[in-house]
Amino acid sequence: MTQASPSRRWSPPPLIRNPFQRWALILGAIVYLLLAISTLRIDVARIIQGLDRGSRMFAGFLQPDFVSRWTDIQAGILESLTMTVVATVIGVAISIPIGFGAARNVAPLPIYLFCRAWVALARTFQEVIIAILFVVMMGFGPLAGVLTLSFTTIGFLAKLLAEDIEEIDPSQVEAIRATGASWLQVMTYGVLPQVMPRLVGLTVYRFDINLRESAVVGLVGAGGIGSTLQTAFGRYEFDTAGAILLIIIGLVMVTEIASGVIRKQLQ
């Protein structure tokens, strides 16, 4: 506030208090934005040329063709759904021991570090990259997709489960331990009941995510509705592609609403 100001006008405090830091940040952001936008290389001619294809695509989406490739679409959906179920079950089954191992309050240090490293590895790479590796190793088909989704499920579920286990109420664990229970009994009666609602909630949520991702891993040949979509695009059958996209959106919406309802009931 300078005293020279005629009216005492209040202005909200800035987000970053140090003016030097604030201006440096703003200046840096502007320079970066200019540099970044200059790399965009917008090719107007190509965009105009593409608009024609875009309008055909849009027309295809407005008149989706569910019928002519229905058997392919049906097979793709079935494969996506089965991939999701199998991958979620396998992923959760592996995540539970790793999640316990990655919780500092129940696992010894070497196991903790091992499990944490595993979680970090599973979280770094995008599903599609992992899918490429599995496709190279196992050949095309839904099994590569199942393994990809299981692997990424571990990174997600084990991490959140471990965080939840680290926040449990220790008095219940102590009470069970005081009865002379074994380690396994302490886990099943002291720890597991405390994290169970969240574990079920996360599983349902992950099922939802896996269904979404199962549509994507197919783009690199790992089975599911993504493969069908890729084929439809390759043949320039935009009406079929539109139908597939609408089905994906519908499926995702249904599972999202269902998983929301289930998770709300659990709380």
Binding site: L40, Q49, M57, T82, M83, T124, I132, V136
Partner: protein, 270 residues
């Protein structure tokens, strides 16, 4: 709590008879569904290739090591592109999600129909993965960074819009009432009553999404939408596995750094 008397001794059980039966039935049905699904997957799998996988994996690893470090010099440009795709995409999606979220939030929406439209936009954007958006956009506007930026933005609008509007719905009404009582205009209520309350959440969520977008933009190149994914797909298709490992290390470093940046920024905001 069900207690049974067996030979005059009280035995505690976790569930009563009906409960145990239901529990068992649930597991039975679940297992059957899983086995049925597994059967379908198994039918569609060429098992000879799978038994071959450990050998294939070993060969892959032996070709990946040692990484061809000289290839790194060709990666700076794609890495820079990847960063730009994620950052510009996030900025664009924040710019669109901001007004959208005020339309979608129950307490700030001007009209129920506007809210319904905003919600449909959010859900549609969330349901389609950025890679699929990229597939569409590459066909329309051609391969390149721009398609990547737009597909990242299209996917992020839904995510940001959902979390933004939830933050708006959870605000404290008292400051809003206080500012309304001064006779402030609608716009002033928004900027002085609501925005200061949600700004930290907005910033935190946006930075978090930027971090996710870095990860997503590493693969957009697989369908031609720019970034390091182009180098990855070229190297995989050319069976240049020693280059693939360099790319993996570069991606790992980039994701690690962005996660660190995002965590630091979010910690300083909250």
């Amino acid at each position: 709590m069900p207690v049974q008397t067996v030979n005059g001794v009280q035995v505690w059980q976790r569930r009563d008879r009906v409960g145990a039966f239901k529990h068992w039935l649930g597991w039975l049905v679940g297992t059957l569904i899983f086995l049925g699904c597994w059967h379908i997957i198994s039918e569609a799998t060429t098992w000879a290739f799978v038994w071959d996988a450990p050998q294939q994996g070993g060969q892959l690893l032996s070709r990946m090591i040692p990484p061809r470090w000289s290839y790194l010099n060709q990666l700076w440009q794609p890495l820079w592109d990847t960063l730009n795709i994620a950052t510009l995409g996030t900025i664009l999606s924040v710019a669109i999600a901001l007004p959208l979220s005020f339309l979608a939030a129950r307490n700030t929406t001007p009209h129920p129909i506007a809210r319904a439209i905003a919600l449909v936009v959010i859900v549609t954007s969330r349901s389609v993965n950025s890679l699929i958006w990229a597939l569409l956009l590459v066909a329309i506007i051609g391969p390149g960074v721009l398609a990547g930026v737009l597909s990242i933005a299209l996917r992020s609008i839904g995510f940001l819009g959902k979390l933004f509007s939830e933050a708006i719905e959870e605000i404290d009404q008292l400051p809003v009432e206080a500012i309304t009582a001064t006779g402030a205009s609608e716009f002033s209520i928004l900027t002085y009553g609501i925005v200061p309350q949600v700004l930290p959440t907005f910033a935190g969520v946006s930075v978090f999404r930027w971090d996710v977008n870095i990860r997503e933009s590493t693969v957009l190149g697989l369908v031609g939408a720019g970034g390091i994914g182009i180098s990855l797909s070229a190297s995989v298709n050319g069976l240049q596995w020693s280059q693939v490992s360099v790319i993996f290390i570069a991606i790992f470093a980039m994701v690690f750094l962005s996660e660190w940046v995002s965590a630091t920024v979010r910690k300083s905001i909250i």
